[in-house]
Every structure is written in structure tokens, then in C-alpha cells.
């Protein structure tokens, strides 16, 4: 999809200034999904007063795109990024993420997707502004230079971009663009203060939950306690008699109380009497789901599909001929995303149009799903994206948007739908359970001669993007093939639908597969009687970038020197999203519970855009990964999620946050992604430290006192 041909088009903007847009031609299906082609497709607007607006085509959910993406354009436009106004893009084909094939924020792809596109856009605008100045002054463009928002001529002439924008917009868009050499960067790679911080320290940043519209009413939605259950009938007499209640309406996923305030809607919701058809989901428990997943590996049903991910040499024969073989099984639980901002969306359905405002990672999904649910054409659905109070993959889903739209349609008013924390925990699209079976053969010296990897899990992509069942889901197999030098290996994935909807969760299958692989290679090292770091190092001779970050992390963590009494260290490495990462954790254990004291991460992400954000994303991923490693787990009984709020679904708190050291390798390689991958290293690094500390190999997350005791 990266080969999709970009071309550029410029038009005069609203009679004044310059609009520069990079138009991306779409397949018809994508165009239908994305809809709204009437929206102007622009990256940059320059007004006559020299104010400049850059459009950020990705959702800001904490990962820093609101600053990093404008930096790319500003670098080539030769303006200070801090002088730009940033606008989040509407839903429109121009803003498709070529790495994902849709207008969507995820997969640690935003910078990688924008890297060439936005720099090119900035350079083309600059060249057109210079050409306009050269024409005005009757000089050669080569004698003019663009700097700090103005063009300067050979005789000291000067004109602001704003003064030149109108004329520049009439000029042809240059086809050949020479982008700056990395050594000439004045902004890319320099620590830059986030542009959204000021609004986020005084309460003025606008999140989805803060949206208000004239005449807006509030909704609280009761959904079936069993995901997928349907309303059979309901009695809303008591709710309708409550103060401020406007209406009670049934929508696809439940019964909504609509009232003049959130609290009135929520309170009246407590009085609803609903008869649910709970559906087949009522039979689900996480335990029987995991048993079925484990059973699937041995005994597949016609609904299960096994696909070979990769194969090198003859793994089976290598294992047969090995001096010794090891096998191990690993299990990962269901997990919720638990974004700080509970799910919400605001919808205004009126006069055959639907205006959606809210926190979404997937604008095209909102357009497509809302249009389908309302019976509207996609071009009649618009999407405005607010700041997201966390995303982590949860806000790729459009369930809440559809609910808000249906409620607005039913009551004929603008509606803000806000879920409770309990709704959010119990109606998530969970990270799927996973079961891994790994095997390896070692030679007499303990070196692996062959290895097999098999993961059984559920595909989020089949439901969300209609991936055919017989096609391999790339989001199930990330990190399945290790970077280690193994002469014979084979990796398989078994796709098994456990009956519960699942979704993308920060770092997606990297977290599942790295837990198994990086635990297992630690097991191999110990079986070989080798230090886990030295053992890995010997297997990474063809992976200089990964070997380098591992060495840096080990050095910073004092690997090789004994830790303080009662403490132990664990190490893990991963290549993901084009980034190379190593992590060392230091832990202790008291009353069965693990405390993580120190985490060192070394990262080679290629050319950094904003190093301060790279560091922040590493810190963030450690906290997110530690929540999952130390205690978070979703369980089901009779189809009902047993957790509800932060008491039953604990997440990492300030007092549990370890000391963190981040080492960043500076280079000018193509940028990799960093919003997610460090998350995947936390589980195996902690598991490996637990083994070093206790001699217990915990092959099941989370590493609760119970799971450690049972290991």
C-alpha cells in the first residue's frame, strides 16, 4: 500500500492565501468507507496575515502526533513548528494512513506513514512560495531563500509567506523535490515541547466528554451484561417519571435514557427493567475459553484455521537430531484497555445529515458504521475528532459512536452519550487470550539448532476489517519470528474464535508473542547453563542494531554485577514496528507480590522526530505493560465480565512506578514506531527476573502471587 501514488494539487483557499493538499487516490471501496469526498483535502493553509494552519491527520491520544507530524512539515517549510496552528483532520480520503489503508491511528504507524509525505508537502509549499517571490522580484528562484516564514531575495527584498501565498497557489506544484539532508535539520530530532501541553495543564483541552452543542441532551445506556445480548423487552415507566428525563429509547446495543443532564440520565437508568436475550455469550467463561483454545491446538474444529507464518530449513528434523529438546507452554489472559476517559461520543442527526464529534482512532470506521446503522450515505456523516483521553486500540472501535448516533436519531436532538467506568470495563473489545507451544532443540553446547513456535489465539482483524478466515492476520503474528540466528525454524498460527469479541491492545500480538518467545529463550539459556544476556548476544551476531541496544541496556543496568540482596534482573529484546528495543528490569518479592524497582530501556527507533516524545512513550509503555504484568486480568463467568472498576481491575499507580532509564540510540535510519512496542517487553523481562529471583518459571500472565505460587 505504500506504493500508492501520491500526487499534489493546490487551489486558492477561500479567495485568499494558499491551500496545499496531497490527494491520495482511493480504491472505490475505500472511498465509500471513508466517504465525505466533498471535504477539502489540505495539509497546510497560509492566510494573508501569515498565520499558518497545519492539519494533523492522526488522532492525538497521548503519543505526540499533534507535535511530531507538524514538525515534519515545518522542517521543510522553514518555519518554527511553534508558530503553526494545528487542526485535527476531518474524515476524508486525503488523510488515509497508507500503512493501514484507512484513516486510522494505530500500529505505531503515524510518523512512519507521514515521514516522506509531510516533509514533501512542506518542501513543495516552500518551493512554490520561493517561486512566487522570484516572479514578483524578477529574479532567479535560486537566489531567493525561505526562512522563518518569509522569503528573502538577493537585494534584501523580503515578503512573508502570507504575502506570497495567493500568488504561490497559482503556480504548478513542483514534481521534483529534494528533501533536506539529516545534518541540515533544525527541528527534526531536536527535543521539542509538545504543542498540546499548555491546554492540558489548565483544563481547557477539549476531550470527547467535554463536547457541548446547542440544545444537546445527555444519554446513559444500559447494555446487556452479556456482550452480544439483545433487548427482548423493557419497562421504562419508572425512568420516564424521573426528573429531567426526556425519553427512553431502544437502540442496537441496549436501552438509553435521555435526559437534561448526565446524572439524571444515569440515575433514571438504574430504574430500567430490561428483559434480555443473552444469546450464546451467556455460556462463556474465561476458563472454558482457555481450555478450548488449548484443546484446539491438539484437535482443531472446522472453524479453526492453522496457517504457517514462516519456515526456515527443516525444524522437525533439527529437533529430532538435537542433543536435547525443550518444550514450554505459555498463557495470556483477556485484558481491557481501561482508557482514562470513559467511552463517549456526541452525535447530531438532523435533516438527513449526521454530525459526529468525539474521541476516535478510526474516523473512517465511524463514518462507515454510523452511515450503515442510520441508513445514511457515507457522505452525509461527518466526523470531528477531539483529543482522546487514551486510545491504546480501544478507540479503533465505533460501537459508542453508533450508539450515540442511533440515540440522536431516535430523539431528534444532539446527544452526548457517556459510559460509566463499569460500562467501559464490561463492554470492551478485549485483548484476546493466547496459548503458545514452543519447542527447541539444542546441540551439545546448548546452542539452538532448531525451534518451533505455535500460537493459538483469536483474530481481531476478521471482525473489524473483514479479513477472510483463511488469510493470516498480520496482527496475530507480530514478533512470532525471533531475530535470533536459528538455522531451522517453523512458526504457525492457529486462528480460533473463542466466542467473545476481541480487539487491538497496545502493541497487539507483539505482547503475546514476545512474552512466549522471550521467556522461552531465557529458558533455553538457563538450560544451556549460560547467562541469558550472553546467550542472546551469541544469537544476535547478524542483528547489529538489536545487539547494540541489548548491550546498552545491559550495561546501564549493571548486568553481570550482582544486584542487591533480595533482588534479581531479567532481560528481553524485540524488533517491532521498525524499532529495536531491549529492556532490563530489576525486581524483588515480598509476601508473594512482585515489586519492580528499576527498568532500563535502550531503543533504536531510527531517525527520531521529537526525542522527548520517544522517551515519554517508552516511560508510558513501561507503565502500561507493568499494569498487565502485575495484576490486570479480565475474567468471565456466565458470560459476565467479573471486573467493573479500578478496584477489581487494578492498574499501575504512582507508588508502583519504578525508576526508569531510557537510552536512545541516535541515527538517521528510517523512523520506526515507538508508541507501542516497549509494552511487549515488560511481561517477558519481569518473568525472566522472577525466574532469576525464585527459580520459578511463570508461564502465565499476570504474575500475581497466585500465579507465581502455582508455577
Amino acid at each position: 500500500m505504500t506504493s500508492r501514488r501520491n500526487f499534489l494539487k493546490s487551489t486558492a483557499a477561500l479567495g485568499a492565501g494558499m491551500v496545499l493538499g496531497l490527494y491520495v487516490p482511493l480504491s472505490r471501496a475505500e472511498a465509500k468507507l471513508a466517504g465525505a469526498e466533498h471535504v477539502s483535502n489540505v495539509w497546510l493553509r497560509i492566510a494573508e496575515d501569515n498565520s499558518m494552519t497545519v492539519v494533523c491527520a492522526r488522532s492525538e491520544m497521548g503519543q505526540g502526533v499533534y507535535t511530531a507530524l507538524p514538525m515534519l512539515l515545518a522542517e521543510e517549510l522553514n518555519v518554527d513548528v511553534r508558530s503553526l496552528k494545528v487542526e485535527i483532520a476531518p474524515a476524508a480520503p486525503a488523510y488515509i494512513n497508507a500503512l493501514l489503508g484507512a484513516q486510522c491511528t494505530g500500529g505505531s504507524s503515524s510518523v512512519r506513514d507521514a515521514w516522506v509525505t509531510l516533509r514533501t508537502g512542506g518542501a513543495q509549499a516552500r518551493m512554490m512560495l520561493v517561486a512566487a517571490a522570484a516572479q514578483r522580484w524578477q529574479v532567479d528562484a535560486a537566489q531567493c531563500r525561505a526562512e522563518n516564514g518569509k522569503v528573502v531575495g538577493p537585494a534584501g527584498q523580503s515578503a512573508s509567506y502570507g504575502q506570497l501565498a495567493q500568488a504561490a497557489s497559482q503556480l504548478p506544484v513542483p514534481a521534483a523535490v529534494a528533501l533536506k539532508d539529516a545534518r541540515d535539520y533544525t527541528q527534526i530530532g531536536k527535543p521539542t515541547k509538545r504543542l498540546d501541553t499548555p491546554a492540558k495543564v489548565n483544563g481547557s483541552a477539549r476531550f470527547g466528554i467535554d463536547v457541548t452543542l446547542p440544545g444537546m441532551v445527555y444519554a446513559s445506556l444500559e447494555q446487556c451484561p452479556v456482550i452480544g445480548g439483545k433487548v427482548r423487552g423493557f419497562d421504562a415507566a419508572a425512568a420516564k417519571a424521573m426528573p429531567g428525563v426526556i425519553d427512553v429509547v431502544q437502540v442496537r446495543d441496549g436501552v438509553a435514557v435521555v435526559a437534561t443532564s448526565y446524572w439524571r440520565a444515569f440515575k433514571a437508568r438504574q430504574t430500567l427493567k430490561i428483559d434480555w436475550d443473552e444469546g450464546p455469550g451467556a455460556a462463556l467463561s474465561d476458563k472454558t475459553m482457555m481450555e478450548a483454545i488449548i484443546g484446539t491446538a491438539a484437535n482443531m474444529t472446522p472453524n479453526d484455521v492453522r496457517i504457517n507464518i514462516a519456515s526456515t530449513g527443516d525444524a522437525a528434523m533439527a529437533l529430532q537430531g538435537a542433543a536435547r529438546t525443550l518444550t514450554a507452554e505459555y498463557r495470556s489472559p483477556l485484558l481491557a484497555h481501561a482508557t482514562m476517559e470513559p467511552q463517549n461520543f456526541t452525535a447530531d442527526v438532523a435533516n438527513g445529515k449526521c454530525r459526529m464529534i468525539g474521541p476516535t482512532q478510526y474516523q473512517a470506521g465511524v463514518v462507515g458504521d454510523v452511515a450503515a446503522a442510520l441508513g445514511f450515505k457515507p457522505e452525509d456523516v461527518s466526523v470531528e475528532t477531539t483529543f482522546l483521553g487514551g486510545g491504546f486500540g480501544r478507540r479503533v472501535e465505533s460501537d459508542v459512536a453508533v450508539q450515540a448516533a442511533q440515540i440522536s436519531q431516535a430523539v431528534g436532538k444532539p446527544v452526548k452519550l457517556v459510559w460509566t467506568r463499569e460500562d467501559d470495563t464490561r463492554h470492551d473489545f478485549y485483548r484476546p487470550q493466547a496459548y503458545h507451544r514452543l519447542a527447541a532443540g539444542l546441540d551439545a553446547a546448548g546452542t539452538p539448532v532448531g525451534a518451533t513456535f505455535e500460537v493459538t489465539s483469536q483474530s481481531p482483524t476478521q471482525r473489524l476489517f473483514g479479513l477472510p478466515k483463511d488469510k493470516m492476520d498480520p496482527y496475530m503474528v507480530e514478533g512470532a519470528v525471533v531475530s535470533y540466528d536459528i538455522p531451522h525454524s517453523r512458526q504457525d498460527v492457529i486462528s480460533h474464535d473463542a466466542g467473545l469479541r476481541v480487539g487491538y491492545w497496545r502493541s497487539v500480538s507483539n505482547a503475546l508473542n514476545a512474552f512466549a518467545n522471550e521467556s522461552f529463550f531465557d529458558e533455553l539459556a538457563h538450560a544451556a547453563g549460560k547467562d541469558p544476556y550472553i546467550y542472546r548476544q551469541a544469537l544476535l551476531s547478524k542483528q547489529p542494531r538489536l545487539a547494540r541496544v541489548m548491550g546498552l541496556a545491559a550495561q546501564k543496568a549493571n548486568w553481570g554485577k550482582p544486584p542487591a540482596k533480595g533482588r534479581a534482573r531479567g532481560i528481553a529484546v524485540l524488533e517491532a514496528y521498525g524499532s529495536y528495543l531491549a529492556q532490563v528490569v530489576e525486581i524483588s518479592r515480598r509476601d508473594g507480590e512482585i515489586t519492580v524497582h528499576h527498568v532500563v530501556v535502550a531503543a533504536d527507533v531510527g531517525q527520531m522526530i521529537n526525542p522527548d516524545t520517544v522517551e515519554a512513550q517508552v516511560q508510558s509503555s513501561i507503565a502500561y505493560g507493568l499494569s498487565a504484568a502485575l495484576g490486570s486480568e479480565i475474567t468471565l463467568e456466565n458470560g459476565r465480565v467479573q471486573q467493573a472498576n479500578f478496584d477489581s481491575y487494578p492498574v499501575l499507580r504512582m507508588s508502583q512506578m519504578p525508576k526508569v532509564d531510557v537510552i536512545i540510540v541516535k541515527n538517521v535510519e528510517t523512523p520506526g514506531g515507538i508508541g507501542e512496542p516497549v509494552t511487549a517487553l515488560v511481561g517477558p523481562a519481569v518473568a525472566n527476573a522472577i525466574f532469576a529471583l525464585t527459580g520459578k518459571r511463570v508461564r502465565r500472565m499476570p504474575f500475581s502471587a497466585d500465579n507465581i505460587a502455582a508455577a
Partner: protein, 161 residues
């Protein structure tokens, strides 16, 4: 019937039912949306405000609980980001998604109003009721130490308004 209280230095009155949580009165009726809803159960701290100067979860306070009292929200620190903690938050680029930060700042402001030299343990005690899913804890801690240092240098000026 309406209930009156002092909000960010101004006398206000609200007509919501007396059992309405202060959080929703502030947000939906009085129109100050900086205070955030996170859990509704006093477990996450996103809704932290000051009640007569003490950090309090506004999702657990009823409107009737605050009659005649002083309530301060994130908007009371400053609109121009001049408060010592806001400046420290900017200097350390603390926020990521930013949703929890109003509550974090209000908890930190309550801490610094009584303690200009907090230890890491003091910070843990004051801040562990405030969840941040983006994991900005390392920077929150650093920013609180920076702000405290500045307060000590300035003899406490800028800690509260």
C-alpha cells in the same frame, strides 16, 4: 430550590437535585469541563478538586455536601499557566493524553500547599489516588520536585491562589 457555594472565588448557585455529585454540577450545570469523570467511585482521582483547600474526589461529593463551602477546580490554578505547578508541568512536558492531568495537578497543589519539601514517599502518598494510564508518573514526580524547589526559593509564593 438551589444550593449556593463558592466556586473558584465566586459565589455560584446550582439547581441540580441535591444528591447530584459535585463533579456533574461543575461540568454540566456550571460549564467548567476541566474536572474530569474517570470512575465515579473515588478510585482514579480524575475528578479531584479542593474542598476548603483539601484535595477531594468530586464524584463522591453530593451538591448538598458543598453548600456554603469553598470549591476550587483546575480552572482556579490559572488560565495563563502561571501557577508554579503548571509551569513545572510544562517544563517537564508531563501530559500525554492529558485526561487525568487536571486531577493530578489538583492533588499536587494540595500537597504543596502544606509541604514545600515533599519526599518521594510524600509524593507517593499524595498522588497514588490519581491514576494515569499513559504512565506519566516519572514526570509528575519530577515536576512536583521542581515546583517545590521553586516554592522554597520564593518563600512559598505561587503555591495557591
Amino acid at each position: 430550590m438551589s444550593i449556593s457555594f463558592n466556586l473558584n472565588g465566586k459565589q455560584v448557585s446550582a439547581t441540580a437535585e441535591a444528591d447530584t455529585p459535585l463533579l456533574w454540577v461543575i461540568r454540566d450545570e456550571l460549564g467548567l469541563s476541566g474536572t474530569k469523570f474517570g470512575c465515579g467511585a473515588g478510585l482514579c482521582g480524575a475528578c479531584t478538586v479542593h474542598l476548603d483547600g483539601a484535595a477531594t474526589r468530586s464524584c463522591l461529593l453530593k451538591l448538598s455536601d458543598v453548600a456554603g463551602k469553598k470549591v476550587a477546580t483546575i480552572e482556579s490554578l490559572s488560565h495563563d499557566n502561571s501557577h508554579v505547578l503548571q509551569r513545572a508541568w510544562i517544563a517537564h512536558d508531563v501530559p500525554q493524553c492529558g485526561y487525568c492531568q487536571s486531577g493530578q495537578l489538583m492533588s499536587a497543589a494540595a500537597l504543596l500547599s502544606t509541604n514545600h519539601n515533599p519526599s518521594d514517599a510524600d509524593i507517593d502518598n499524595a498522588m497514588s489516588g490519581n491514576i494515569c494510564r499513559c504512565g506519566t508518573y516519572v514526570r509528575i514526580r519530577a515536576a512536583i520536585h521542581s515546583a517545590a524547589t521553586e516554592l522554597r526559593r520564593n518563600g512559598g509564593k505561587g503555591a495557591s491562589k
